[in-house]
Amino acid sequence: METILQGTAEIRFTHPDAFREWVREHKRREMVEKLMTEGEAVSRCVADGDYIAYDFSSLTRGPQALVREIIRQRRRDLWICAEFTLHESALLVGGGCASRIDVGFLGYGNYIGRAVSDGRVRVFDWTNGALASRMLAGARGVPFMPVRTLLGTDTLRHSGARVVHDPFTGDPVCLVPALNPDVFLVHVHQADVFGNARIFGTNLFALEAATAARKVILAAEEIVDPLEFRKDPARTTIPYFLVDAVVHLPFGAYPGGVQARYELDLEHIDKVNAIQSEEQMQAYLAEFIYGVQDHADFLNRKVGWHRLQDLARRATIREGYH
């Protein structure tokens, strides 16, 4: 397969056989309880140097509490998949956790842009669609996915994609390598203790990434009876055997919202987005992340019951989320 053009990015690539062997040895087919605290989950599943991906957006159903826990545990040298990310990337860089970013969408704000310019974090440019396709390849156990995007651009030249001649048409086609993250973080509406999970609304690549990842940490607004899943199997987004840790984290997407549960807290989001200097960043981390014990402590001391109830009260659109 002659490569016509090859992007220059370093890629985190796992041979499909190596991934399969990891699954065989580490993923439990047994239905065992996986309920634990976010502290345990991150401590067990996230190691320095890991490649981390997450679903959905910073503002809706993002795994914010898990991201904060990773920062609190001061993981280092993470490589993150920045898809639909806004402030998570900034916080992970600010906390000194992330050193490399695969970019779909890097996130707004001067802080993250400056960190790139200063060389404090290395970026590799892809696209949202290319990263979703890479995740699909990872989930199907194949080494790559063909796409008809990236072609002709600098994005391609700076990505880790390759262009080859498609043998069926003879035309050039772009191949993006499979992505098998070390860790996938996902915040869901409902889960059972085994890891079966439901997401309401849309998602980026929840099932793809859960299937493709070595370790999956599930944060759930609500823990429900396992029988619920068997009674409505069409609603299951992620089956239990893909999942390594289940954490019950109500308001875990805060300051983002979760559909039909609570609205986003724009005031707090503005506070994060306003971070420009290193000093502001460290002050934010000190107050809201290092300065609290865990998610419950954060909600209790830094957000408060009244605010949480207000955000929940504003989530009046329920249609379709069941």
């Binding site: 959905f56 957006s57 503002l59 809706t60 159903r61 639909f84 970019v103 779909g104 969408f105 890097l106 996130g107 707004y108 993250i112 842009g113 400056r114 790139v116 310019s117 060389g119 290395r122 970026v123 440019d125 892809w126 696209t127 949202n128 669609g129 979703a132 396709s133 699909l136 008809r148 995007t149 990236l150 072609l151 002709g152 651009t153 600098d154 994005t155 700076h158 262009v163 498609d166 035309d171 772009c174 609304g201 849309t202 998602n203 980026l204 690549f205 929840a206 793809e208 919202g257 559909q259 039909a260 609205e263 986003l264 724009l266 989001i269 989530a315 659109i317 249609e319 379709g320 989320y321």
Partner: protein, 265 residues
């Protein structure tokens, strides 16, 4: 005289371009407002597609800031899906229009939304990058680019080509394997409207905001767009457009705020 912001002008101009009973790939922020305005005034049966998997929503207004994927944004969709499916529909040709922003463009409508200046490793300014922009520009039939009108944004050579326009000219897209018959169709700026000449695929001035002269609009650009003999006069935002935008869609002025402009009615 009518007063409006540069953003309002771009939104109104873009909204007038959309065709009813067609599909459009909608990006974050300004394109959401364009679709909302078009849906209310011009194209009630426009079908919106979002990269995060909302197919055909009837988004609620007012626009909720930061609600990409939130309940008001995806309200009453025809289908809730995911990113691979949203792009599959675009990849198979089901999406007529796409709308994306740009930091720089060149004469062939190639787009930079990644960085300005410096090197790739150490850019002087770093932007979010492609997001789904590259997919939209690669796969939708007609791409509409929306960009604030600053002459320095029209460059001979992009600092980085994030998303494909016509690349190096006619046949450029097909040569690299992009889908046949696609490409940038219009460029909406805060002062003018551009298209692309059929033969050369070069940027062509189609219209300028009423009250502005052609030289005023083109002054300072690194390259000179082609101009049709009859450059149209673009009407400023109409009262009804502004009313719907300001009262119904964005009453808190989150997106529509911007540089003040004025034009004769």
């Amino acid at each position: 005289m009518i007063e409006f912001t540069d953003t309002e002008f771009m939104i109104c101009t873009a909204a007038r371009l959309l065709e009813d009973r067609k599909t459009v790939f909608v990006g974050w922020g300004m394109p959401q407002l364009v679709a909302m305005l078009a849906e209310r005034l011009y194209t009630p049966s426009l079908v919106q597609i979002f990269e995060f998997g909302a197919i055909g929503p009837q988004s609620l207004i007012p626009f909720v800031r930061g609600t990409m994927g939130g309940p008001s944004n995806v309200y009453r969709s025809l289908q809730w899906s995911n990113m691979n499916w949203a792009f599959a529909y675009a990849g198979t040709g089901y999406v007529d229009y796409g709308m994306i922003g740009a930091a720089q463009i060149d004469t062939f409508g190639n787009v930079n939304s990644t960085l300005l200046g410096g090197t790739y490793e150490r850019p002087a300014r770093r932007f979010p990058g492609s997001g789904g922009g590259n997919e939209v520009a690669s796969l939708c039939w007609r791409t509409i680019l929306v960009m604030k009108h600053e002459p320095r944004r029209f460059v001979e050579r992009l600092d980085f080509m994030t998303s494909p326009g016509y690349l190096d000219g006619p046949g450029g897209r097909e040569k690299v394997g992009l889908p046949r018959g696609t490409g940038p169709w219009r460029v909406v700026t805060s002062k003018a409207l551009f298209g692309f000449e059929e033969e050369t695929k070069r940027l062509t001035l189609l219209g300028v905001l009423k009250g502005l002269s052609v030289p005023e609009v083109l002054d300072g650009m690194e390259f000179r767009p082609l101009a049709t003999d009859l450059v149209e006069e673009i009407a400023p935002p109409a009262d009804e457009e502004l009313r719907v935008l300001r009262e119904q869609i964005d009453p808190s002025g989150i997106v529509i705020r911007g540089e003040k402009m004025r034009a004769a009615r």
